[in-house]
Symmetry: C3
Subunit: 337 residues, 3 copies
């Protein structure tokens, strides 16, 4: 195989596109257009600038640490950095300390990506995906409460006591279309439906099945969250949809080969993600942090972990235990490596 030297700009754009599992520089450009459009509308440019710094720092850190050449070239060390860079200025007000935070956070996200790769992926066969972003983002936002130089602009820590009970009126058709696109835009923390549409276009450019899966994930999330009576204000911002969109893509198209059975499996995973979204919002609320893509990450890990021809896991003595070993047979040892 002839190896072609990878260009750092291409790597960075591919890293940007890998947030949706795509390895396509044009898709990466469209994703930056979507972020820039949202910044233009809101007047807040720190998120787009943060995203750019994040993907550059994360990719360069991967180069400096001699991370796996092929993975770096594919942008696989960039997508967690771009999300860290976009997320921190979304939840923390701009200050000199914020930019230190973005740079250190993006560099750390590369180390964490390498850590997930060497353990979860290499040993258990589970892709790390945006897990490193979730971990980095949680630590950085929670940490911001401790430092006077950082001001968290989102909600303060709270208990889940004021949650909605009872049903709200159904959204109107126009709003449903907005929610459909916001569900996709929120993967990049963008609540703007035009940005969501640009991102969906970027996905379709790279892969038609991926575009279909993303759209299906958004629809399923909308139906399930409304039917379960989720808070309309949250549904309306697209915050019940972005994790299911990623799950539909990951389980239905990217990490399993699409088949009728896989489609049903991905449907169960996508519906489960909506419930896990509701759960994690409640669970992380006392720490004052957003759930980020954790609902997707947790659900995807659980649905991708099972392997064919599972070792039976009977209720029998485990082998080779520290104590009692002279008696125990070895029912698990032949399967456990």
């Amino acid at each position: 195989m002839a190896k072609q030297k990878s260009n750092v700009v291409t790597e960075i754009l591919k890293g940007t596109s890998q947030v949706f599992f795509m390895e396509n520089p044009v898709t990466g450009i469209l994703f930056f257009v979507a972020m820039a459009y949202a910044s233009y509308v809101s007047g807040v440019w720190a998120t787009t600038i943060g995203a750019a710094i994040g993907v550059v720092v994360a990719t360069l850190t991967a180069r400096l640490l001699d991370c796996d050449e092929k993975s770096v070239a594919s942008g696989l060390f960039g997508f967690n950095g771009v999300l860290v860079g976009a997320a921190l200025p979304t939840f923390i007000a701009a200050s000199p300390q914020l930019w230190v935070y973005v740079v250190v956070g993006a560099a750390a996200s590369t180390v964490i990506t390498a850590a997930f790769s060497a353990t979860l992926t290499a040993k258990w066969g589970i892709p790390g995906s945006t897990g490193p972003f979730v971990l980095t983002g949680w630590l950085m936002v929670a940490g911001a409460y401790s430092f006077g130089g950082l001001h968290v602009t989102g909600d303060a820590p709270k208990l889940a006591t004021d949650y909605v009970q009872g049903f709200a009126p159904l959204p109107q058709p126009l709003e449903l279309v907005q929610i459909f696109f916001r569900n996709i835009g929120q993967v990049y923390l963008l609540g703007d439906e035009i940005s969501g549409a640009i991102i969906l276009a970027g996905i379709f450019i790279a892969s038609i099945p991926a575009g279909i899966a993303a759209a299906a994930g958004s629809l399923i999330a909308m139906v399930v969250s409304i039917a379960m009576g989720a808070d309309p204000a949250i549904v309306s911002q697209g915050l019940y949809g972005f994790s299911p969109v990623l799950t539909a893509l990951a389980v239905g198209v990217i990490f399993l080969k699409t088949s009728p059975k896989v489609v049903v499996y991905a449907l169960l995973a996508t519906v489960t993600t909506v419930f896990v979204q509701g759960a994690l919002d409640v669970i992380v609320a006392p720490a004052g942090i957003p759930s980020f893509t954790a609902p997707y990450v947790l659900t995807m890990y659980l649905f991708i972990a099972p392997k064919k021809l599972l070792a039976p896991h009977p209720h029998q003595p485990v082998a080779g235990h520290m104590i009692g070993h002279e008696h125990a047979e070895a029912p698990l040892s032949t399967k456990a490596t």
Copy 2:
């Protein structure tokens, strides 16, 4: 070996009995009798119906996903489902959304069981046991706060500020007998002592050592929790005993071969479980979720994980690290696979 085709009804009853590590359809019937008796007394049938739906959906999902034939036949894909089905109606009021929740939760519990089996069990030699139930139950109950169609009937999220300080008078002898049986019944979320006695009878039918271990676990938990000054209202409901009962069974009889040394080890594990029960109640309180069997699961994982002839884990350079690899010797690489 001649394989005999397994009957789905038998699988379901075995799954019900596997909550206590037994593979015995008659025991499963007795467990359903215990649940039905408690429903008859309380007038609330949703829990027994939920348990039946849970074990059926979980077992059928395992069949549809082609999970390990032998494990499915032994009921090992059913016991997490029966617990999910019993637990959700215990903590969430009946509604159409609840039943959707029970079905999706039970199906997801099978995927999660397969995930634990492929990682924790196959790679680390630790049985998943009721870990998948705990994870599914936590996510579903926490999620219920987010959905208007679901109403959590248990306690709202709180901080552990109002915990008991100081001692209460000792329970009377009759109450001690009730607590002894409730400790066993609460494994199935049943606070009724008659149900507990029926369950204990079901265990003895399947295995006399298992019955003795369960009884010993209940006694130890009662003594330790009262001696430590735990809240008598909670002790009295059997809520300090069900996890230690499972630990005594799992560590003393099921996963290690019984010996004098294992009995001492199981005693330490059982006492530790009582302390972990107190801890997890406090730790999960802010999320508004019950600790379920997590005290057992966590303690059992930690006590079963150690292996004989442990690889030394000295404070020395680790091998093959991403950076600095040209210098590091390989003290761990020969032991770490």
Copy 3:
């Protein structure tokens, strides 16, 4: 190799010194001197007595359980016990139940150390370090809220709503010197600067590079925490420094072979630990527990986990999944064992 029988007193002193990764009985004696000095100044001897009980119980438990001979002799089953024994009386008032708690906690810490060794270390190549102490300490302190016989003397569970915002005046030079030594003393939960100086002397006696790394970690933590605007009252007690001190030692000297690249890597790890300290303080606050050395443990695990020549972890189908297996190629299976 001629094996020389290890002396239990030596093992216990080595265990005490292993808190700072040293295997040196004289260092262990100095660490006990540092604890005793702090007890003398404060008049509270329960912490020093607890530490002695903890390391003895943990080491004897390891002997009884036939844990790896070489590791026990090196004190590697003692250092988590000494920390459990020092920590519990620091946060829980003395009572008969406290001493039961210290003994059971120290014994459990040995089992948990063996559990970490058999999984995290043997399978993933990550040293357990003080992870077992953190887990044991969290469970025991959280559990104390549930038991009337135990009274938590530290802060009650709270939400992170009253965190400092805005900057305080810089500490004076003399205070900076005190903070420098307290950062080291707090690894042993000692807020006294003389105790910190004795501990640093103990480290230098055992290893000059280790002493330099500890001092550098303390300086970096002081600069970063002040520059980020951390609460001066917390910085002043040395509570922002003890985890970074351990990270600087672990990543810069102990687990990676020192080189210019490793120094930069350890610098990033040390700065990250300061941020993680701020984060974990907020995250564990609702449970009413201290973060202990968790900021060090988490950061060190993440920075030590990555391995050279990482398996690529592309966004491709995973191999051997339970469903869809007949189609999927095996891009990960050749790398994942």
